[in-house]
């Protein structure tokens, strides 16, 4: 297959693989603390960072990391203060982020609808070598943090009050989650786009937990589903010329539907096995 004979294809595939592995490893903690949509909101904020980068002729990935990290920490501080006005504060931040992004991208010299769309929905062919190096470095850092700190992050996400009473640095861990979420959103924007970033964090986890019973098995299964759908979606999108991000997300959703249906069928299966077989059953070949 000559699909992988182009350098830009290999670069994008590397990006897709890293996102497929990293996004669910982080997303499982977000799902557990009922913040499934936070990645989506931070994606809105990251667009302002893209606009800043384009305006300053700087790498949009780096400026997007910085702006979305600042936004994510802001969201976390709002969440820690009080929950009453948090919902509205988040909405204001997110819409400010996307409006600011659209305006700034429009002001930049190489502004075009195509330019904006490639950040919103991802793009295969525009990933540069520098982008891949940044994506790989940041993705590895996030992945290591999620795996090494799993017991502590599990404790905080599962029962924050208990974690505080255990003397864990809950505030620091929450800020770490905020920053790593922002980083993951930003590195995923090239592959799946800012509007679908959250899907790669949440959908593989939702699919995995249809068939798992423990946190660690859910995490590894979700990562496997993430990598599998990222590679398969990448190949399919290149072959039939569809948007890669949307193709990957649709495949992940298909895995979710299949596993959910299989799970439901397993639950309602007729429980024949518990009854003893009648002795006179004759099986015809």
């Amino acid at each position: 297959m000559d699909l992988f004979s182009y350098d830009f294809m290999l670069r994008s595939l590397a990006g897709a693989l890293i996102i497929g592995l990293t996004a669910p490893a982080l997303g499982i903690y977000l799902v557990q603390r009922r913040l499934s949509l936070i990645g989506d909101g931070i994606g809105h904020v990251a667009l302002t960072g893209v606009g800043v980068g384009l305006l300053l002729h700087h790498s949009p990935v780096i400026t997007a990391v910085i702006v979305s990290a600042v936004g994510a920490v802001g969201v976390e501080l709002v969440r820690q203060r009080g929950r009453t006005s948090g919902d509205l504060a988040l909405a204001l931040l997110f819409y400010g982020g996307i409006a600011g992004g659209v305006v700034l991208v429009g002001l930049s010299t190489d502004s075009s609808n195509a330019n904006l769309l490639q950040y919103l929905f991802g793009s295969l062919i525009t990933t540069s070598t520098q982008d891949v190096v940044i994506i790989a470095g940041l993705g590895l850092a996030v992945l290591l943090a999620m795996l090494l700190l799993r017991p502590a992050l599990f404790a905080v996400s599962n029962d924050e009050e208990y974690a505080r009473v255990s003397g864990l640095p809950v505030r620091t861990l929450n800020l770490l989650m905020a920053v790593t979420t922002a980083v993951t959103v930003t590195i995923a924007m090239r592959t799946v786009g800012l509007l679908l970033v959250s899907a790669m964090m949440v959908v593989p986890v939702a699919a995995a937990q249809q068939v798992t019973g423990g946190f660690r098995t859910t995490m590894t299964t979700a990562m496997a589903i993430g990598v599998g759908t990222a590679v398969a979606g990448f190949v399919v999108s290149a072959e039939v010329d569809t948007a890669p991000g949307a193709t990957i997300v649709l495949l992940a959703l298909a895995v979710f539907v299949l596993l959910a249906a299989g799970n439901a069928a397993w639950r309602v299966r007729p429980r024949r096995a518990e009854e003893p077989e009648p002795p006179d059953v004759v099986l015809h070949g």
Binding site: P151, N158, D159, Y162
Partner: protein, 259 residues
């Protein structure tokens, strides 16, 4: 030495006083119950001791150290009222109980043999070792409550603080609970627990503190249930919350009722 000392504590939420001038002293090896009606402030009192609710005025010492400077949280095992549901990500009994070990083993050190053994011992103590690999969502309410006790015990604490451990728990689990707490006390542990009713735990309690209207209404021996609450066939159902608020709650000391 006193393990928990609360002096003249006052706590408020948004300008409303929940506790005022509350003092409490729990000595090493004691089992103290904080009793009171719903909304009396009894849960707020232990949440303040655990630093989950900020103190407006007064002082709290833990193991002889002012709460602000207290760092040995591994010495305290906290058992909340119920298991948090989480966002639906499954977790096994073993995984939940393992988080009780974090206070001892720190943030970065991976679990060692001694940690895994502590988790298994704690689960064996509450009679759930055979469920270690099962998802917690498949356990009954009473079994989930026992899982939370095991989580607290896994950290090998010196003080257990329990918030309504027997609320809505079946009789078998209540008795498993009482046996676990009795073993903990026999090994030299101190227990501070909040309860609406004591149930199977009653024989364990050395001393009771009754919180009523944000203050301490009684401190001393466990008060006899008063009035119709004392009847053997009274099942302690309170379908109308308002019915128990006026006057003195069911844990009011008998001598005051008589006088």
């Amino acid at each position: 030495m006193s393990i928990v000392r609360v002096s003249h504590a006052a706590v408020g939420y948004g300008g409303r006083h929940v506790l005022h001038d509350v003092s409490l002293d729990v000595g090493a090896g004691e089992v103290v119950a904080i009793l009171g009606a719903n909304g009396s402030g009894k849960s707020t009192l232990i949440r303040t001791v655990l630093r989950l609710v900020p103190l407006d005025s007064g002082e709290i010492d833990l193991f002889g150290v002012p709460q602000r400077r207290f760092r040995h949280w591994a010495r305290i095992g906290y058992v909340p009222q119920r298991m948090s549901a989480g966002g639906g990500v499954p977790a096994t009994v073993g995984e939940v109980v393992s988080s009780g070990r974090l206070a001892r083993r720190g943030l970065f050190r991976p679990a060692r043999v001694v940690d895994r053994e502590a988790v298994r011992d704690a689960l064996a103590d509450v009679g759930l070792l055979d469920r270690i690999s099962d998802p917690v969502a498949t356990l009954s309410g009473g079994q989930q409550q026992r899982t939370l006790i095991a989580r607290a015990l896994a950290g090998e604490p010196d003080l257990l603080i329990l918030d309504e451990p027997t609320a809505g728990v079946d009789a078998a689990s209540q008795e498993a609970f009482a046996r676990t707490l009795a073993r903990f006390r026999a090994a030299g542990g101190t227990i501070l627990l909040v309860a609406h009713e004591l149930g199977a735990l009653a024989p364990l309690i050395d001393r009771a503190v009754v919180v009523h209207g944000g203050g301490i209404a009684h401190a001393g021996p466990v008060p006899e249930p008063a009035g119709h609450h004392a009847g053997p066939d009274h099942d302690h159902l309170h379908p109308h919350a308002a019915a128990e608020t006026p006057g003195i709650c069911e844990w009011a000391p008998v001598d005051r009722m008589a006088g």
